[in-house]
Structures are given as structure tokens and as C-alpha cells.
């Protein structure tokens, strides 16, 4: 009996056991099943999985990698694939990197695919695809995404001239000049992103912004030959405000809204001060202009939330009646923190530190006047 069948039998025999946890009894956190197919591997029969896909360690600079490679054999109709290896390596930076394809390289030098993937489809070890299938799967992982018909000629050299012409349709990436985002808000309907300015002036590599995106974001067959200068995107559909801002925020986090949202103040786009800064604006602060508190020039800086930082010496001249409650004689001269613990003035005042039998708002330390809201 072939060893592979033995492994299979062992697996079947282990089936009953496998319902239970595969974690080793010693209490180690490793999962045996990352490497072993059987619940109870033995030294004689370790039942190893075909390819544990360990991470590679032997990284080197992309420019040390071969620029082009010829993949696959000469067929009756299709020739090998002239594979632009280095260009793909650069593109891979926007995704999983080298490990996306070189999934079992542990150290340099990078291994040849056929060291693991059998050249023949008729073989003993069926656990991993043969060479041809492995190659096709690897390429098609992305190439089907932007070329759903998966035509052979889009990668393979075609021998007859007519088909060759068809195969020439390469998908060069035409980076747009500008991208106009439609914000969906009533004021300032758009944000214009000057793509060419950003990539040119700051010499940004694609991967610095584009990560784990669909290939078609850049390689879109439908866009070939079309006017690529200006693209229009909808940004609010199905994404949160954070997601919409995430990419720009890596550099623009501290900028004023109006840097991107032309002619908009934070207020006009409904900036939620409480949620974003942790300092909710009360009825006195809300109508103020941003600049009245954020005085520094260029961008908003954090303002010290202590009242004293803006309202110098306020305690001395504070008239409690302005809040709607004129304090009685006993309370008038107390320190604010006696009732407003931690100076959290928007929260309920505390009575019980002095009075066992009194509680706000049933009992009040004074008389309601003018603006009393009686809410709290």
C-alpha cells in the first residue's frame, strides 16, 4: 500500500477522534493541524500537510529580482509567457508583496516553483497542484479580475498573426490627472484630488496609497483609450466618514476641512465636536465661531479644556444666576468643586458629599431664575 493511502487511512481512523480538539495536551497554544493532517500524528507517520505556506524570510530588493522571465513551454498554438517579473514585483507591493507568489520560500535563494510543484499531472502527491496548474492559478488570481474572459492570448504569445494582434491589448495604467469625489453633502458637493500633482511633486510610489485593492481600480479595460484625465468617484456610498477620510488623513489629519472641502467650515459639513474631540459644545459654545477658541494660525490645534484656559479668572466674577439658578446664602461662597466634582459642569451636581438626605434635582441649593430649564 502506498504511503499516501496509509496517511489517508490514518485520517479516516482518526476521524472519530478529530471531533475533539486538536490542541496538544501540554497546553501549548500551537495548533497541530497547521502542519499535520491527522489528529494524532506519530513519529513514524507524521501526516504532514502538503504545503504549510510558511512566511518567507529571504527578502531582497525588488531591483535584484530578474526583470523578465519566460514561463511555460512551447505549445501547438500558444508560446510561453514573457513574464515581466520585476514590474509584477513592484505591483505586488500594493498587495501581499513577494509572498503572494513565493509562498513557500523560507530563505534565499528564492526557490523554483517546480521544486514543489510536479511537472506532470499524473503523479503520486496530489496534495498540491502540478506546475502548470500552480502557475495558471497564481496568474489568474489577479488576471481574471480585470480580464474576466481569461483569454489565453492575454498572457501567452500567440503564434498566428491575427490572434497576436488581439493579444496586444495591454492594460497600461493611465493615472488620472484629478479625481473628483462626490461627497454627498449639500454644501460643497465635491472634493478634488490632484492625483498627478501628488504623485509628481511628492514622488509617491503607487503602493504608498494603494493597498489591497482590486486590480481593476488601476487596470481597467473599459478605461483604455478613454479620457482618463478626470475620474469621478462617489465616496459616501456604503462607507463611514472615517473610511472616506482615511487615505488623505495619513498626511492631512491636522489640516482644516477647507483644505480639501473648498469653502467649507467644519460647522457647515456637520463636524461633530463631541464625538471627534471628546469636548461636546454646550449651548453657550455651540454658536461661537471656531476661531474664537482655536486661535492659532493654520489648522486647528487642541484647546485646553479647562475653563480657566479661555475664561481667565472666571471664578471670581462668575454669576451663578446666569445658569438659571441663583445660589442661596449657604451655597454662594462654596468652591465650585464642592458640588461639581471634577469640574464636570455639564453633569448633575453632587449633594451627598455634605447632605445625606438631599439630592438634585428634587432639592436645589437656591432659586430658579430666568433661564431655568428644569431639565436636570
Amino acid at each position: 500500500m502506498k504511503p499516501i493511502t496509509l496517511i489517508g487511512l490514518l485520517f479516516v481512523a482518526g476521524g472519530a477522534l478529530s471531533a475533539q480538539s486538536a490542541a496538544p495536551k501540554s497546553g501549548s497554544s500551537m495548533d497541530c493541524r497547521a502542519c499535520h493532517t491527522a489528529a494524532t500524528p506519530t513519529k513514524a507517520n507524521p501526516s504532514l500537510v502538503a504545503c504549510p505556506r510558511l512566511k518567507i524570510k529571504g527578502y531582497h530588493a525588488i531591483d535584484e529580482a530578474p526583470a523578465t522571465m519566460s514561463l511555460g513551454a512551447e505549445g501547438a498554438k500558444y508560446g510561453p509567457v514573457n513574464f515581466a517579473h520585476r514590474a509584477h514585483a513592484h505591483m505586488a507591493e500594493t498587495g501581499k508583496g513577494c509572498v503572494g507568489c513565493h509562498h513557500y520560500d523560507q530563505a534565499r535563494p528564492i526557490q523554483k516553483c517546480k521544486n514543489c510543484h510536479a511537472v506532470s499531472r499524473k503523479r503520486e502527491d496530489l496534495g498540491k497542484p502540478d506546475l502548470k496548474a500552480a502557475m495558471h492559478r497564481q496568474c489568474l488570481d489577479c488576471h481574471r479580475d480585470w480580464n474576466p474572459t481569461g483569454s489565453c492570448a492575454s498572457c501567452h504569445q500567440v503564434k498566428d498573426a491575427v490572434a497576436k494582434a488581439a493579444a496586444k491589448k495591454s492594460t497600461t495604467v493611465a493615472a488620472p490627472q484629478k479625481i473628483i469625489y462626490e461627497t454627498g453633502s449639500k454644501e460643497g458637493k465635491t472634493v478634488t484630488f490632484f492625483h498627478a500633482d501628488h504623485t509628481g511633486r511628492f514622488a509617491l510610489a503607487c503602493a504608498e496609497c494603494h493597498q489591497q485593492e482590486s486590480c481593476r481600480g488601476c487596470h481597467d479595460r473599459k478605461r483604455i483609450g478613454a479620457n482618463n484625465a478626470v475620474l469621478t468617484r462617489h465616496t459616501t456610498a456604503g462607507i463611514t466618514e472615517e473610511q472616506a477620510h482615511a487615505r488623505c488623513a495619513t498626511c492631512h489629519a491636522k489640516d482644516e476641512c477647507s483644505v480639501c472641502h473648498k469653502g467649507m467650515s467644519p460647522k457647515s459639513i456637520g463636524f461633530d465636536h463631541g464625538r471627534r474631540t471628546g469636548f461636546a459644545l454646550n449651548r453657550f459654545h455651540a454658536p461661537l465661531d471656531c476661531k474664537q477658541c482655536h486661535k492659532s494660525a493654520g489648522g486647528f490645534t487642541r484647546v485646553n479644556a479647562d475653563c480657566e484656559s479661555c475664561h481667565k479668572g472666571w471664578q471670581a466674577k462668575f454669576d451663578h444666576a446666569k445658569t438659571g439658578l441663583a445660589l442661596d446664602e449657604q451655597h454662594k461662597d462654596l468652591d465650585c468643586t464642592s458640588c461639581h466634582e471634577d469640574k464636570t459642569f455639564h453633569a448633575k451636581p453632587v449633594c451627598k458629599s455634605c447632605h445625606d438626605d438631599k439630592a438634585w434635582p428634587a432639592q436645589r441649593p437656591g432659586k430658579a431664575v430666568g433661564r431655568e430649564t428644569a431639565k436636570k
Partner: protein, 300 residues
């Protein structure tokens, strides 16, 4: 285990048939229904299939069926309709929506499942269809009387009948490339698949490989190997990324479609033995096999 059952069952029936006055030679001429533990199968991984339809072309070419050149298969319009294997194509690939990514639909190759306990074999009254030790369920021209019971019995609606042929119409279905495999080649479809969505090998290994794949990429697969247990197991098994009923796989129980006794019963008629004595024989056979079955169950 099951193979033991089946084999000892057949052995028992031969012995009893001999006792009932049939010569062993006659009994041995019956269908070769063997469930070998080493039977081969194919694992179809629909998450890998790219819908190129090379397999359709290869199958037709290998079986001398009419086909346009391979390039024409890049045309995806046949996917607009759901197709079934028929007398002109022993296997077809169908396309289904993929809710995860509408751009990359799921494509599913359909052909005979090569059941381990085939309903078509049970239904055939003359034993023209048989399960081979190599896993294939094949049809024999010389024995077939054209009754088309197999078509009705098959839970996957596979066998097709050449209605348009007045003389010598055949039952057409995937034969697991019996001829090619006899020459040491792979089934034509398996050989032609560019991404090895079709893996040919001992069924036992394939089930293990399928389990491995599901365990290592649970986000990619539903935890179900279609054919592992359906109708008592099939030699061709499937993996998928969406529930199988969304890909038009019939929901079937784990029991083989009609009972094994049926084929024996038909077999008896095929040898023109007076029914009365044979019903007694049949009872005896069933009784013996049930006894054995119980014993086996206790041991496993």
C-alpha cells in the same frame, strides 16, 4: 467496509444461486459490481474552476463527438443557459452568480458522479451498467435493451439516450475515460484543465485532500464535500464556496437510491429462473446480508 459487505453479499448470492440449480458459470456472467477500496475518483474544486470549458472540448475530442475548435470555447454565451450533459456532450460547465464577487461567477462542471452504489446499476434489468473496481460506472452496448430505466433512476439525471438513432441507439454518459485510462492516460477532462480544478486520484486520498483544503482555507469553502456521503458516496466529489443547493446540486440523503436487492431481483429475471423458488432465494440472500451488516456495524 461497505466493499466487504457488497463482495460477501455477491459471494453469498452466488453460493445460494448454485444451490438453487444455477451453474456458477451463469451466475458469474452477471454485472461486475465491485466497490474497491482503491477505486479512483475526481475531486472537482469549483472555487478553482475558471469556466474555460477546455474540459468540454477535451471530452468530446476523446470520445469522437462533434466539436468546433477549442478557440471557439472562449465564447461565453453558452453560459446564458443552464445545460445538462446529453448525447452530444458527456460533460458540460454551467455558470452561477457569485454573491461575493459578481465579476467572477462560479462555474461548475457536470458529468456522471460515478456513484459508489449506483442507482442506474440497480435499475438496469439486464445488468448492462456496472461499477468497476477502478471507480467507473460504465455501460455495455451488447447487453442494453434500450429500456431507459437508468435515465429515470439516476438521481443526477445523467444517462442520455440517442433518440435520433433508429439503429443501435446508445445510452450516453461519462465513462470516466475507461479507454484512455486503460492506456495509462488521465481522463481527458482532467488532463486538459489548465488550473487543475479536477484532481484525479484514489477517492480515499481525494476526500482527505478535500478536507485539508477546507481546513486550511475555511473562508474559501463551505464545510461540505458533496459526494462524500450523498447517495452512499460518489467517486467524483465536489468542493464549493457557496452552499451546493445554490449551484443546483440536488439535496440527497446518505442512502443509496434504491436497495441493492432490486438489482439481484432483476438479475434473477435475466436468467429466466422460475420466480417462486427465487423469491425464496432472494429472501435468504437478504436475510444473510442483513445479519452480516449487523455484525459489521457492531465491529466498526
Amino acid at each position: 467496509m461497505k466493499s466487504q459487505n457488497r463482495r460477501s453479499f455477491l459471494k453469498a448470492s452466488t453460493a445460494i444461486a448454485a444451490a438453487a440449480g444455477l451453474t456458477p458459470a451463469t451466475a458469474n456472467a452477471g454485472p461486475k459490481n465491485i466497490l474497491s477500496p482503491n477505486r479512483m475518483g475526481v475531486l472537482v474544486d469549483t472555487t478553482v474552476c475558471i469556466g474555460c470549458r477546455n474540459c468540454e472540448w477535451a471530452c468530446k475530442t476523446a470520445h469522437g463527438l462533434d466539436t468546433p475548435p477549442l478557440e471557439t470555447y472562449e465564447d461565453k454565451t453558452p453560459f446564458d443557459q443552464m445545460r445538462r450533459p446529453d448525447t452530444t456532450a458527456l460533460t458540460v460547465v454551467n455558470r452561477y452568480e457569485n454573491p461575493e464577487n459578481p465579476e467572477l461567477p462560479t462555474t461548475v462542471k457536470v458529468q456522471c458522479m460515478h456513484c459508489d452504489h449506483p442507482a442506474c446499476v440497480s435499475a438496469c434489468i439486464v445488468g448492462a451498467i456496472s461499477k468497476q473496481a477502478d471507480g467507473a460506472v460504465i455501460w455495455d452496448t451488447d447487453k442494453c435493451i434500450g429500456c431507459r430505466y437508468c435515465m429515470v433512476a439516476c438521481p443526477f439525471q445523467i444517462p442520455a439516450f440517442e433518440y435520433n438513432k433508429a439503429i443501435g441507439p446508445r445510452i450516453m454518459k461519462c465513462d470516466f475515460c475507461t479507454e484512455r485510462r486503460g492506456e495509462g492516460k488521465l481522463p481527458a477532462c482532467v488532463e486538459s484543465c489548465p488550473v487543475e480544478a479536477l484532481t484525479f486520484g484514489p477517492r480515499e486520498d481525494l476526500v482527505r485532500i478535500a478536507k485539508d483544503r477546507v481546513r486550511h482555507a475555511p473562508e474559501r469553502y463551505v464545510d461540505h464535500i458533496y459526494g462524500e456521503y450523498e447517495v452512499g458516496g460518489t467517486s467524483w466529489c465536489y468542493l464549493a464556496g457557496t452552499e451546493f443547493d445554490k449551484l443546483q446540486f440536488p439535496k440527497l440523503g446518505v442512502n443509496p437510491a434504491p436497495g441493492v436487492s432490486e438489482s439481484i431481483q432483476h438479475g434473477i429475471f435475466a436468467y429466466f429462473v422460475p420466480p417462486v423458488s427465487l423469491y425464496a432465494l432472494l429472501g435468504a440472500v437478504m436475510w444473510t446480508s442483513r445479519q452480516r451488516g449487523d455484525e459489521e456495524e457492531e465491529h466498526s
